[in-house]
């Protein structure tokens, strides 16, 4: 089940110490059967340092999916509300792509895409035969110089951090200009403990532990914006209990930590003999896919709700540790034959990652563990997580599609999955895709949501949440671009309200 070729998109989340699944002294717990995996990025710029740079807009229908199929809720805002901010974000950070006019994958402000790799051309040909849409990917990597940043030099080493800042990260693209204003104070090594609330019910700042000196500190503020990642922000809110807010801050609805979702993830790969004929060539490209499959079955009835997209990998990638594990397992033996087979099969694998939409369910949420604190004395999160039939059927559909594409390429599909067990249809553990959202969701009704359409807490006017927390749904588009667009919109609103004296 494990994907063993060195896949270029796999550098997401795999490097330390940018972030880790396990951090010494900072545990989290899972309720029995949940086995949720929580990635934390304790670094300036957070997850933007290691994300896959896949920058997809949510579609208009994603904001009204509750009405459309009766599952979950609609957003309090529409695509029209957020579209101008998608434009701004894309123009600022730089995203490549092409105008395609596909309803499930709205076009944006795009730089030209890089040329397809051989593997991707073959996938595209197979998809054409199968009536599956396959188009240039949309990644926050510069193919042209913009805003003083150099274009990509196609070394394929995004996972090491980009020396020219040609792929987007907050640390390299947003913070330097902010620092230049002279009005930004960056406090690093700070473990936030709680949001401080005054007698009037408004936030007054944040109390934190300075990790270097292990001392308690506090920063005062007219407004507090949480962007600690969806679950970490929920943890902060739930840990910010006071006489005014006994159930945690901004939690009069009781929905902080609820409606947690991650993306549905299932992977697969196969050998494609046609690739054996390719002469050695540079296959690196940008640190991610150049082509992808957007959700294409939006015009028909499926046996699961919502949809997924498919990411493409494989080919003559830089050899890495683990690349020949599958070969070793299948071929066994040793010596000249093993060496010859490695030579023959190198570059002939094509891999897919399906990434789909999970429907929020009442069995999936995070809460404060009543018994456990971290090394800073801060109560930790306990996760509850369960995939439903919807997600399992989607993973099954992914596996069937992967197989059909590999076979249409004349290849042999290698991934074996079971219908039950720990990973039915190869579905990964909750959290593994690192797309957790929804734990401080937005809504028009303060009784059923944490923040309003501007990411402002219903209960506390000078408190905002601008990470994945406010997302009402978790469509098959990686959340980062939408998080940034919502943040931009929230920032303008905050500034505007402050000027009016409302905050």
């Amino acid at each position: 089940m494990a994907l063993r070729f060195a896949s270029s998109w796999c550098w997401r989340g795999r490097s330390r110490p940018n972030g880790a699944w396990i951090i010494d002294g900072e545990p989290y717990t899972s309720a029995p059967g949940a086995n949720f995996q929580w990635f934390r990025s304790r670094i300036v710029g957070g997850r933007t340092n290691h994300w896959g740079r896949i920058a997809l807009r949510f579609a208009p229908i994603d904001f009204t999916s509750g009405t459309r199929d009766g599952l979950g809720d609609d957003w309090p805002i529409t695509y029209q509300d957020i579209a101008p901010y998608y434009d701004k974000v894309e123009s600022y950070i730089g995203v490549f792509g092409t105008k395609e006019n596909i309803s499930s994958a709205p076009d944006g402000v795009f730089l030209p895409p890089p040329k397809p790799r051989c593997t991707e051309l073959l996938v595209k040909k197979a998809c054409d035969k199968l009536n599956i849409i396959c188009i240039p990917a949309r990644l926050a990597v510069l193919t042209r110089s913009i805003n003083g940043r150099a274009p990509c030099h196609y070394c394929g080493q995004c996972g090491r951090g980009c020396i020219t800042g040609s792929n987007f990260s907050s640390s390299q693209v947003l913070l330097p200009p902010a620092m230049k204003t002279g009005r930004l104070t960056l406090i690093t090594g700070a473990m936030a403990r709680s949001v401080v609330v005054g007698k009037d019910g408004k936030t007054e700042g944040v109390s934190y532990v300075d990790k270097a000196t292990r001392t308690e500190k506090r920063v005062n503020a007219r407004a507090v914006v949480l962007a600690a990642s969806a679950c970490e922000s929920a943890r902060l809110l739930l840990n910010s209990r006071s006489a005014v807010f006994p159930d945690g801050l901004a939690n009069s609805s009781g929905t902080v930590g609820k409606y947690l979702t991650d993306s549905v993830g299932s992977d697969g790969w196969g050998y494609v003999p046609a690739l054996e004929k390719m002469p050695p060539h540079n296959h690196d490209g940008v640190g991610g896919m150049h082509m992808y499959v957007p959700w294409w079955k939006f015009d028909r009835k499926n046996d699961f709700p919502r949809g997924y997209h498919i990411e493409i990998g494989g080919g003559r990638e830089m050899p890495g540790v683990g690349m020949f594990d599958e070969l070793c397992h299948d071929e066994e033996g040793y010596g000249l034959r093993l060496k010859a087979r490695a030579r023959q099969t190198y570059g002939t694998t094509v891999g897919f990652s399906g990434r789909g939409e999970m429907i929020p369910n009442p069995h999936t949420y995070c809460e404060i563990d009543p018994d456990v604190v971290d090394q800073w004395g801060i109560p930790v999160l306990r996760f509850h997580f369960r995939w439903s039939e919807y997600e399992l059927r989607q993973a099954q559909d992914m596996q069937e599609t992967f197989r059909s594409i590999i076979e249409a390429m004349g290849g042999v599909y290698q991934t074996k999955t079971a219908i039950d067990g720990q990973y039915p249809f190869g579905i990964l553990e909750g959290g593994k895709i690192i797309h957790e959202v929804g734990t401080a969701r937005m809504g028009a009704d303060p009784k059923t949501s944490v923040v309003n359409g501007y990411c402002q807490a219903h209960d506390v006017k000078n408190l905002f949440v601008t990470d994945g927390g406010p997302l009402v749904t978790n469509p098959d588009k990686n959340p980062t671009l939408t998080i940034m667009a919502l943040s931009w919109r929230a920032s303008e609103y905050l500034l505007d309200e402050a000027k009016k004296g409302n905050i």
């Binding site: 494990a2 994907l3 063993r4 060195a6 896949s7 796999c10 550098w11 997401r12 989340g13 795999r14 490097s15 330390r16 110490p17 890089p114 040329k115 397809p116 790799r117 051989c118 991707e120 051309l121 030099h153 196609y154 070394c155 394929g156 080493q157 996972g159 992977d267 046609a274 004929k277 390719m278 002469p279 050695p280 060539h281 540079n282 296959h283 690196d284 490209g285 940008v286 003559r316 830089m318 050899p319 890495g320 540790v321 683990g322 690349m323 020949f324 594990d325 070793c328 397992h329 066994e332 033996g333 040793y334 010596g335 000249l336 093993l338 060496k339 490695a342 190198y346 990964l428 593994k432």
Partner: protein, 198 residues
């Protein structure tokens, strides 16, 4: 490597990732490269210019080297696992990882015990055809099905085989063997060369 990342951190990351196997735990290429570089540094610092094993005893290290050589030998196209530094690579990783120490250290004892029972002494003292028949037994899972007494040996050998491939194919020799071209700056990505006529 950036400031603040210790050698131990890197080596442990590599070992932990290798053992994990899940998608997001695929090894950082830079950690493999770092391990090769660390081996070179250790060699350069030694007066003899030779690598001194950090974990394995001289006898174990010699046995491990022999296995690496059998797994990826020199052929007409390229040098083998020994020239690529596989034993050094494996020793350095093992020196920082208790799991590896148990699996590899224990596995090497298993191998010598097996050879002593079957022939007259440890693996290295066996004749070439005896060594070959031992490897032919432990290199295939089906043999452990037929004779469960082999199963620990099969698991051990599979682990050495994977590690040898990891070491070899992340080395300069192994990368050249595969004819990987890249990890270099380009003004534009050239795309796919014309597909050969089929």
């Amino acid at each position: 490597m950036s400031v603040g990342i210790s050698r131990r951190d890197v080596l442990r990351t590599l070992a932990v990732s290798a053992a994990g196997g899940a998608v997001l735990q695929v090894i950082p290429a830079q950690a493999a490269e770092y391990t090769h570089q660390a081996v070179q540094k250790a060699k350069a610092a030694a007066p003899s210019g030779r690598y001194t094993p950090k974990y394995f005893t001289p006898h174990q290290y010699e046995t491990l080297s022999s296995l690496c050589d059998s797994i990826i030998p020199k052929d007409e196209k390229s040098a083998g696992a020994i020239e690529a530094g596989a034993p050094e690579f494996i020793d350095l990783l093992t020196s920082e990882n208790e799991q590896y120490q148990l699996k590899l250290g224990g596995g090497l004892y298993w191998l010598d015990g097996f050879c002593t029972d079957r022939y007259t002494g440890p693996y290295l003292s066996c004749a070439p055809d005896e060594r070959k028949s031992v490897l032919d037994l432990i290199a295939f899972r089906k043999n452990a099905k037929a004779d469960p007494a082999l199963s620990q040996g099969v698991v051990f050998f599979a682990f050495v085989r994977s590690l040898t491939c990891d070491a070899f194919y992340t080395s300069k020799i192994g990368i050249a063997d595969l004819q990987y071209i890249g990890n270099t700056g380009l003004p534009e990505f050239p795309g796919c060369p014309p597909l050969p006529e089929s």
